[in-house]
Protein backbone atom coordinates (compact mmCIF):
# COMPACT_ATOMS: atom_id res chain seq x y z
CA UNK A 1 0.00 0.00 0.00
CA UNK A 2 3.04 2.23 -0.40
CA UNK A 3 1.94 5.83 -0.88
CA UNK A 4 3.58 9.25 -1.19
CA UNK A 5 2.53 11.47 1.68
CA UNK A 6 3.36 14.72 3.43
CA UNK A 7 4.57 14.91 6.98
CA UNK A 8 3.78 18.22 8.64
CA UNK A 9 5.93 18.88 11.70
CA UNK A 10 5.02 21.51 14.29
CA UNK A 11 7.40 22.30 17.14
CA UNK A 12 5.89 24.62 19.70
CA UNK A 13 5.27 25.23 23.39
CA UNK A 14 3.80 22.46 25.52
CA UNK A 15 1.01 24.71 26.82
CA UNK A 16 -0.50 24.74 23.35
CA UNK A 17 -0.72 20.95 23.00
CA UNK A 18 -4.38 20.53 23.85
CA UNK A 19 -5.50 23.36 21.59
CA UNK A 20 -3.39 22.33 18.62
CA UNK A 21 -4.56 18.74 18.87
CA UNK A 22 -8.10 20.06 18.55
CA UNK A 23 -7.14 21.93 15.39
CA UNK A 24 -5.47 18.83 13.96
CA UNK A 25 -8.54 16.74 14.60
CA UNK A 26 -10.74 19.41 13.08
CA UNK A 27 -8.55 19.53 9.97
CA UNK A 28 -9.55 16.05 8.92
CA UNK A 29 -6.10 14.52 9.51
CA UNK A 30 -6.28 10.79 10.25
CA UNK A 31 -3.87 10.97 13.15
CA UNK A 32 -0.89 12.63 14.78
CA UNK A 33 2.13 11.76 16.88
CA UNK A 34 3.53 13.81 19.75
CA UNK A 35 7.03 13.74 21.19
CA UNK A 36 8.47 15.80 24.03
CA UNK A 37 11.11 18.25 22.94
CA UNK A 38 13.09 21.16 24.17
CA UNK A 39 14.96 23.70 22.18
CA UNK A 40 15.80 27.20 21.37
CA UNK A 41 14.77 29.49 18.59
CA UNK A 42 14.58 33.20 18.11
CA UNK A 43 11.60 33.87 20.29
CA UNK A 44 11.77 31.41 23.08
CA UNK A 45 8.93 32.36 25.25
CA UNK A 46 8.31 29.47 27.46
CA UNK A 47 6.02 29.23 30.32
CA UNK A 48 4.23 26.08 31.05
CA UNK A 49 4.00 26.92 34.72
CA UNK A 50 6.48 24.21 35.58
CA UNK A 51 9.77 25.37 37.02
CA UNK A 52 12.32 25.68 34.25
CA UNK A 53 14.92 23.88 36.33
CA UNK A 54 12.94 20.75 36.93
CA UNK A 55 11.27 20.63 33.57
CA UNK A 56 13.37 19.13 30.87
CA UNK A 57 10.93 19.35 28.02
CA UNK A 58 8.88 22.46 27.54
CA UNK A 59 8.21 22.00 23.83
CA UNK A 60 6.25 19.42 21.89
CA UNK A 61 6.88 18.13 18.41
CA UNK A 62 3.78 17.12 16.52
CA UNK A 63 3.87 15.01 13.35
CA UNK A 64 0.85 14.89 11.11
CA UNK A 65 1.05 12.50 8.18
CA UNK A 66 -1.38 12.98 5.37
CA UNK A 67 -1.76 12.35 1.66
CA UNK A 68 -3.47 15.68 1.30
CA UNK A 69 -0.63 18.17 1.08
CA UNK A 70 -2.96 21.13 0.76
CA UNK A 71 -4.67 20.22 3.95
CA UNK A 72 -1.30 20.04 5.70
CA UNK A 73 -0.37 23.50 4.42
CA UNK A 74 -3.75 24.82 5.44
CA UNK A 75 -3.39 23.32 8.92
CA UNK A 76 0.06 24.88 9.36
CA UNK A 77 -1.37 28.21 8.25
CA UNK A 78 -4.23 28.02 10.73
CA UNK A 79 -1.93 27.11 13.62
CA UNK A 80 0.65 29.74 12.76
CA UNK A 81 -1.96 32.47 12.40
CA UNK A 82 -3.64 31.58 15.62
CA UNK A 83 -0.59 31.07 17.82
CA UNK A 84 2.77 32.01 16.36
CA UNK A 85 2.34 35.73 16.99
CA UNK A 86 2.42 35.12 20.71
CA UNK A 87 3.99 31.71 21.14
CA UNK A 88 7.22 30.07 20.06
CA UNK A 89 6.84 27.74 17.13
CA UNK A 90 8.09 26.45 13.83
CA UNK A 91 6.30 24.43 11.13
CA UNK A 92 7.78 22.45 8.26
CA UNK A 93 6.82 19.91 5.67
CA UNK A 94 8.63 16.75 4.65
CA UNK A 95 7.88 14.27 1.90
CA UNK A 96 7.73 10.64 2.91
CA UNK A 97 6.53 7.32 1.59
CA UNK A 98 4.03 5.62 3.87
CA UNK A 99 4.45 1.85 3.79
CA UNK A 100 1.77 0.78 6.23
CA UNK A 101 -0.99 2.67 7.97
CA UNK A 102 -4.36 1.64 9.29
CA UNK A 103 -5.94 4.58 7.53
CA UNK A 104 -4.55 7.56 5.68
Amino acid sequence: MSQQASKLVIITEKVLLREIVKLIKASGATGYTVTAASGQGSRNTRSSGQPAVSETFSNVKLDVITTDEDMARQLAETIANKYFNNFSGIAYLDTIEVLHAHRL
Binding site: T45, S48, G49, Q50, P51, V53, S54, N85, N86
Partner: protein, 336 residues
Amino acid sequence: MILDALLDFATRLLAQLQSPTLAFLLGGILIAALGSRLEIPESIYKFIVFMLLMRVGLDGGMSIREANLADMLLPALFAVLIGAGIVLIGRFTLALLPSVRTEDGIATAGLFGAVSGSTLAAAIVVLESEGIDYEHWAPALYPFMDIPALVVAIVLANLYLKRRDGSSEKVRIWPIVKESLQGSALSAMLLGIALGLFTRPEQIFEGFYDPLFRGLLSVLMLVMGMEAYARLNELRRVAHWFAIYAAIAPLLNGLIAFALGYVAHVLTGFSPGGVVLLAILASSSSDISGPPTLRAGIPSANPSAYVGASTSVGTPVAIAIGIPLFLGLSQVVFGT
Protein backbone atom coordinates in the same frame (compact mmCIF):
# COMPACT_ATOMS: atom_id res chain seq x y z
CA MET B 1 7.56 50.36 71.17
CA ILE B 2 8.22 51.00 67.49
CA LEU B 3 11.87 50.35 68.18
CA ASP B 4 10.99 47.16 69.97
CA ALA B 5 8.97 46.12 66.99
CA LEU B 6 11.79 46.89 64.58
CA LEU B 7 14.23 45.00 66.73
CA ASP B 8 11.84 42.15 66.94
CA PHE B 9 11.43 42.13 63.19
CA ALA B 10 15.20 42.10 62.71
CA THR B 11 15.61 39.20 65.13
CA ARG B 12 12.77 37.36 63.50
CA LEU B 13 14.27 37.94 60.06
CA LEU B 14 17.57 36.55 61.23
CA ALA B 15 15.91 33.56 62.83
CA GLN B 16 13.82 33.09 59.73
CA LEU B 17 16.97 33.15 57.60
CA GLN B 18 18.09 30.12 59.58
CA SER B 19 14.75 28.36 59.38
CA PRO B 20 14.84 25.41 57.01
CA THR B 21 12.20 26.96 54.78
CA LEU B 22 14.16 30.04 53.95
CA ALA B 23 17.53 28.37 54.23
CA PHE B 24 16.64 25.90 51.49
CA LEU B 25 15.28 28.71 49.33
CA LEU B 26 18.51 30.66 49.65
CA GLY B 27 20.50 27.44 49.25
CA GLY B 28 18.73 26.84 45.96
CA ILE B 29 19.59 30.33 44.73
CA LEU B 30 23.18 29.81 45.84
CA ILE B 31 23.85 26.49 44.15
CA ALA B 32 22.12 27.62 40.97
CA ALA B 33 24.37 30.66 40.94
CA LEU B 34 27.38 28.41 41.43
CA GLY B 35 26.40 26.34 38.41
CA SER B 36 25.49 23.14 40.24
CA ARG B 37 24.00 20.40 38.11
CA LEU B 38 21.81 19.22 40.97
CA GLU B 39 18.33 18.55 39.68
CA ILE B 40 15.07 17.73 41.41
CA PRO B 41 13.23 15.82 38.69
CA GLU B 42 9.97 17.23 37.36
CA SER B 43 7.94 14.26 38.54
CA ILE B 44 9.25 14.65 42.10
CA TYR B 45 8.48 18.33 42.01
CA LYS B 46 4.92 17.71 40.83
CA PHE B 47 4.39 15.05 43.46
CA ILE B 48 5.67 17.33 46.21
CA VAL B 49 3.24 20.06 45.17
CA PHE B 50 0.47 17.48 45.29
CA MET B 51 1.52 16.26 48.74
CA LEU B 52 1.71 19.75 50.20
CA LEU B 53 -1.61 20.96 48.85
CA MET B 54 -3.36 17.71 49.71
CA ARG B 55 -2.09 18.11 53.27
CA VAL B 56 -3.23 21.73 53.43
CA GLY B 57 -6.58 20.74 51.95
CA LEU B 58 -7.19 17.77 54.28
CA ASP B 59 -6.36 19.93 57.27
CA GLY B 60 -8.68 22.65 56.03
CA GLY B 61 -11.51 20.22 55.31
CA MET B 62 -11.29 18.54 58.71
CA SER B 63 -11.40 21.89 60.43
CA ILE B 64 -14.27 23.22 58.34
CA ARG B 65 -16.30 20.32 59.77
CA GLU B 66 -16.18 21.96 63.16
CA ALA B 67 -16.07 25.53 61.97
CA ASN B 68 -18.88 28.00 62.05
CA LEU B 69 -19.51 28.69 58.39
CA ALA B 70 -20.57 32.24 59.17
CA ASP B 71 -17.03 32.95 60.43
CA MET B 72 -15.69 32.27 56.98
CA LEU B 73 -17.92 34.71 55.14
CA LEU B 74 -16.15 37.96 55.88
CA PRO B 75 -12.60 36.64 55.33
CA ALA B 76 -13.75 35.05 52.06
CA LEU B 77 -15.29 38.31 50.93
CA PHE B 78 -12.13 40.17 51.85
CA ALA B 79 -10.07 37.60 49.96
CA VAL B 80 -12.08 38.32 46.82
CA LEU B 81 -11.66 42.07 47.31
CA ILE B 82 -7.93 41.72 47.90
CA GLY B 83 -7.39 39.52 44.83
CA ALA B 84 -9.29 41.92 42.59
CA GLY B 85 -7.91 45.00 44.33
CA ILE B 86 -4.27 44.02 43.87
CA VAL B 87 -4.83 43.76 40.13
CA LEU B 88 -6.61 47.10 39.99
CA ILE B 89 -3.77 48.77 41.85
CA GLY B 90 -1.27 47.23 39.46
CA ARG B 91 -3.39 48.32 36.51
CA PHE B 92 -3.15 51.93 37.57
CA THR B 93 0.47 51.95 38.68
CA LEU B 94 2.78 49.41 37.05
CA ALA B 95 0.77 49.11 33.84
CA LEU B 96 0.81 52.87 33.25
CA LEU B 97 4.58 53.25 33.55
CA PRO B 98 6.30 54.49 30.41
CA SER B 99 8.51 51.54 29.45
CA VAL B 100 5.95 48.96 30.49
CA ARG B 101 3.57 47.50 27.88
CA THR B 102 0.11 47.81 29.39
CA GLU B 103 -0.83 44.15 28.91
CA ASP B 104 2.45 43.03 30.50
CA GLY B 105 1.77 45.22 33.50
CA ILE B 106 -1.75 43.90 33.91
CA ALA B 107 -0.63 40.30 33.59
CA THR B 108 2.06 40.85 36.20
CA ALA B 109 -0.44 42.40 38.59
CA GLY B 110 -2.68 39.40 37.93
CA LEU B 111 0.06 37.00 38.97
CA PHE B 112 0.73 39.00 42.14
CA GLY B 113 -2.95 39.01 42.98
CA ALA B 114 -3.03 35.27 42.50
CA VAL B 115 -1.77 32.91 45.19
CA SER B 116 1.26 30.63 45.49
CA GLY B 117 0.65 27.24 47.03
CA SER B 118 4.30 26.91 48.04
CA THR B 119 4.41 30.25 49.83
CA LEU B 120 1.19 29.31 51.58
CA ALA B 121 2.75 26.03 52.70
CA ALA B 122 5.85 27.87 53.89
CA ALA B 123 3.70 30.25 55.93
CA ILE B 124 1.82 27.38 57.53
CA VAL B 125 5.05 25.71 58.56
CA VAL B 126 6.32 28.91 60.13
CA LEU B 127 3.04 29.56 61.99
CA GLU B 128 3.06 26.02 63.34
CA SER B 129 6.74 26.20 64.30
CA GLU B 130 6.05 29.36 66.25
CA GLY B 131 3.01 27.79 67.86
CA ILE B 132 0.66 30.47 66.56
CA ASP B 133 -2.97 29.42 66.26
CA TYR B 134 -4.96 30.08 63.12
CA GLU B 135 -8.24 28.99 61.62
CA HIS B 136 -7.28 25.82 59.80
CA TRP B 137 -9.84 26.63 57.17
CA ALA B 138 -7.97 29.82 56.30
CA PRO B 139 -5.94 28.18 53.51
CA ALA B 140 -9.30 27.54 51.85
CA LEU B 141 -9.35 31.27 51.15
CA TYR B 142 -6.82 30.53 48.42
CA PRO B 143 -9.27 30.21 45.51
CA PHE B 144 -11.31 33.16 46.76
CA MET B 145 -8.31 35.39 46.20
CA ASP B 146 -6.64 33.57 43.33
CA ILE B 147 -9.48 33.28 40.87
CA PRO B 148 -10.79 36.87 41.09
CA ALA B 149 -7.25 38.14 40.55
CA LEU B 150 -6.79 36.11 37.38
CA VAL B 151 -10.25 36.91 36.09
CA VAL B 152 -9.89 40.64 36.69
CA ALA B 153 -6.46 40.71 35.05
CA ILE B 154 -7.67 38.90 31.95
CA VAL B 155 -10.77 41.04 31.68
CA LEU B 156 -8.85 44.31 32.14
CA ALA B 157 -6.20 43.31 29.63
CA ASN B 158 -8.77 42.36 27.04
CA LEU B 159 -10.73 45.54 27.60
CA TYR B 160 -7.55 47.49 27.03
CA LEU B 161 -6.57 45.50 23.93
CA LYS B 162 -10.06 45.78 22.53
CA ARG B 163 -10.09 49.52 22.94
CA ARG B 164 -6.63 49.77 21.40
CA ASP B 165 -7.15 47.38 18.50
CA GLY B 166 -10.86 47.82 18.04
CA SER B 167 -11.37 44.06 17.98
CA SER B 168 -14.53 42.82 19.56
CA GLU B 169 -14.19 39.32 20.90
CA LYS B 170 -15.99 39.05 24.23
CA VAL B 171 -14.08 37.71 27.24
CA ARG B 172 -15.90 34.82 28.82
CA ILE B 173 -15.32 34.48 32.54
CA TRP B 174 -16.48 30.96 33.31
CA PRO B 175 -13.71 29.30 31.25
CA ILE B 176 -11.10 31.22 33.24
CA VAL B 177 -12.63 30.15 36.53
CA LYS B 178 -12.91 26.55 35.36
CA GLU B 179 -9.35 26.55 34.06
CA SER B 180 -8.17 27.77 37.48
CA LEU B 181 -10.17 25.28 39.48
CA GLN B 182 -9.00 22.41 37.28
CA GLY B 183 -5.34 23.33 37.67
CA SER B 184 -3.25 20.73 39.45
CA ALA B 185 -2.46 22.75 42.58
CA LEU B 186 -5.94 24.07 43.24
CA SER B 187 -7.68 20.81 42.42
CA ALA B 188 -5.39 18.91 44.79
CA MET B 189 -6.25 21.35 47.56
CA LEU B 190 -9.97 21.33 46.84
CA LEU B 191 -10.00 17.54 46.70
CA GLY B 192 -8.19 17.53 50.04
CA ILE B 193 -10.83 19.85 51.49
CA ALA B 194 -13.63 17.65 50.22
CA LEU B 195 -11.96 14.52 51.61
CA GLY B 196 -11.29 16.22 54.92
CA LEU B 197 -14.85 17.46 55.12
CA PHE B 198 -16.79 14.38 54.10
CA THR B 199 -14.56 11.44 55.02
CA ARG B 200 -12.36 10.35 57.92
CA PRO B 201 -8.77 10.84 56.78
CA GLU B 202 -7.41 11.61 60.27
CA GLN B 203 -5.17 8.55 60.42
CA ILE B 204 -3.65 9.09 57.03
CA PHE B 205 -3.27 12.78 57.71
CA GLU B 206 -1.38 12.18 60.93
CA GLY B 207 0.58 9.20 59.69
CA PHE B 208 1.55 10.37 56.23
CA TYR B 209 0.60 13.79 54.86
CA ASP B 210 1.39 15.81 57.96
CA PRO B 211 4.72 14.26 59.01
CA LEU B 212 6.12 14.60 55.48
CA PHE B 213 4.92 18.21 55.14
CA ARG B 214 7.94 20.14 56.38
CA GLY B 215 10.50 17.91 54.80
CA LEU B 216 8.91 18.00 51.39
CA LEU B 217 8.51 21.74 51.70
CA SER B 218 12.27 22.05 52.21
CA VAL B 219 12.82 20.25 48.91
CA LEU B 220 10.29 22.46 47.18
CA MET B 221 11.98 25.57 48.57
CA LEU B 222 15.24 24.34 47.06
CA VAL B 223 13.54 24.09 43.68
CA MET B 224 11.97 27.53 44.07
CA GLY B 225 15.40 28.94 44.85
CA MET B 226 17.06 27.35 41.83
CA GLU B 227 14.13 28.53 39.78
CA ALA B 228 14.38 32.10 41.06
CA TYR B 229 17.97 32.22 39.88
CA ALA B 230 17.24 30.57 36.54
CA ARG B 231 14.50 33.06 35.73
CA LEU B 232 16.60 36.11 36.56
CA ASN B 233 17.85 36.15 32.98
CA GLU B 234 14.35 36.52 31.69
CA LEU B 235 13.66 39.31 34.11
CA ARG B 236 16.79 41.13 33.00
CA ARG B 237 15.49 41.28 29.45
CA VAL B 238 12.41 43.33 30.44
CA ALA B 239 11.97 46.82 31.93
CA HIS B 240 13.41 47.35 35.41
CA TRP B 241 9.98 48.39 36.62
CA PHE B 242 8.94 44.75 36.81
CA ALA B 243 11.70 43.94 39.27
CA ILE B 244 10.88 47.02 41.32
CA TYR B 245 7.18 46.21 41.37
CA ALA B 246 8.03 42.61 42.31
CA ALA B 247 10.08 43.77 45.28
CA ILE B 248 7.43 46.17 46.62
CA ALA B 249 4.09 44.61 45.73
CA PRO B 250 4.33 41.53 47.99
CA LEU B 251 4.83 43.75 51.04
CA LEU B 252 2.25 46.32 50.07
CA ASN B 253 -0.33 43.74 49.09
CA GLY B 254 0.32 41.91 52.31
CA LEU B 255 -0.13 45.07 54.37
CA ILE B 256 -3.46 45.82 52.72
CA ALA B 257 -4.60 42.30 53.45
CA PHE B 258 -3.34 42.61 56.99
CA ALA B 259 -5.46 45.71 57.44
CA LEU B 260 -8.58 44.02 56.11
CA GLY B 261 -7.78 40.96 58.20
CA TYR B 262 -7.65 43.24 61.22
CA VAL B 263 -11.12 44.48 60.39
CA ALA B 264 -12.31 40.88 60.29
CA HIS B 265 -10.58 40.31 63.62
CA VAL B 266 -12.48 43.17 65.17
CA LEU B 267 -15.81 42.34 63.56
CA THR B 268 -15.92 38.57 63.69
CA GLY B 269 -12.98 37.49 65.81
CA PHE B 270 -10.77 36.29 62.96
CA SER B 271 -7.64 35.09 64.77
CA PRO B 272 -4.25 36.87 64.62
CA GLY B 273 -2.79 33.76 62.93
CA GLY B 274 -5.58 33.93 60.37
CA VAL B 275 -4.81 37.59 59.72
CA VAL B 276 -1.15 36.72 59.11
CA LEU B 277 -2.15 33.94 56.75
CA LEU B 278 -4.45 36.27 54.82
CA ALA B 279 -1.60 38.76 54.51
CA ILE B 280 0.71 36.07 53.19
CA LEU B 281 -1.85 34.82 50.70
CA ALA B 282 -1.96 38.36 49.36
CA SER B 283 1.79 38.73 49.56
CA SER B 284 2.40 35.58 47.57
CA SER B 285 2.46 35.54 43.80
CA SER B 286 1.56 32.52 41.73
CA ASP B 287 4.41 30.59 40.12
CA ILE B 288 2.71 27.37 39.10
CA SER B 289 -0.93 27.67 38.27
CA GLY B 290 -1.24 31.32 37.31
CA PRO B 291 1.09 31.51 34.30
CA PRO B 292 -0.70 29.05 31.99
CA THR B 293 -4.04 30.71 32.72
CA LEU B 294 -2.60 34.13 31.93
CA ARG B 295 -0.89 32.94 28.78
CA ALA B 296 -4.17 31.58 27.51
CA GLY B 297 -6.13 34.63 28.61
CA ILE B 298 -3.68 37.39 27.60
CA PRO B 299 -1.61 35.70 24.87
CA SER B 300 0.11 38.88 23.79
CA ALA B 301 1.51 39.61 27.24
CA ASN B 302 5.17 38.69 27.61
CA PRO B 303 5.57 35.82 30.11
CA SER B 304 9.21 36.69 30.68
CA ALA B 305 7.95 39.82 32.39
CA TYR B 306 5.35 38.35 34.68
CA VAL B 307 6.92 34.93 35.36
CA GLY B 308 10.32 36.49 35.87
CA ALA B 309 8.93 39.10 38.25
CA SER B 310 7.01 36.60 40.32
CA THR B 311 9.47 33.72 40.46
CA SER B 312 12.76 35.58 40.67
CA VAL B 313 11.79 38.40 42.99
CA GLY B 314 8.19 38.19 44.20
CA THR B 315 8.29 34.75 45.78
CA PRO B 316 11.67 35.15 47.52
CA VAL B 317 10.55 38.53 48.88
CA ALA B 318 7.21 37.17 50.10
CA ILE B 319 8.89 34.27 51.88
CA ALA B 320 12.05 35.92 53.15
CA ILE B 321 10.68 39.33 54.11
CA GLY B 322 6.91 38.99 54.01
CA ILE B 323 6.55 36.10 56.44
CA PRO B 324 8.69 37.56 59.25
CA LEU B 325 7.27 41.04 58.60
CA PHE B 326 3.64 40.03 59.02
CA LEU B 327 4.47 37.85 62.00
CA GLY B 328 6.24 40.77 63.63
CA LEU B 329 3.38 43.10 62.78
CA SER B 330 0.94 40.67 64.33
CA GLN B 331 2.97 40.70 67.50
CA VAL B 332 2.88 44.49 67.61
CA VAL B 333 -0.81 44.72 66.75
CA PHE B 334 -2.20 41.76 68.67
CA GLY B 335 0.47 41.62 71.30
CA THR B 336 1.05 37.90 71.00
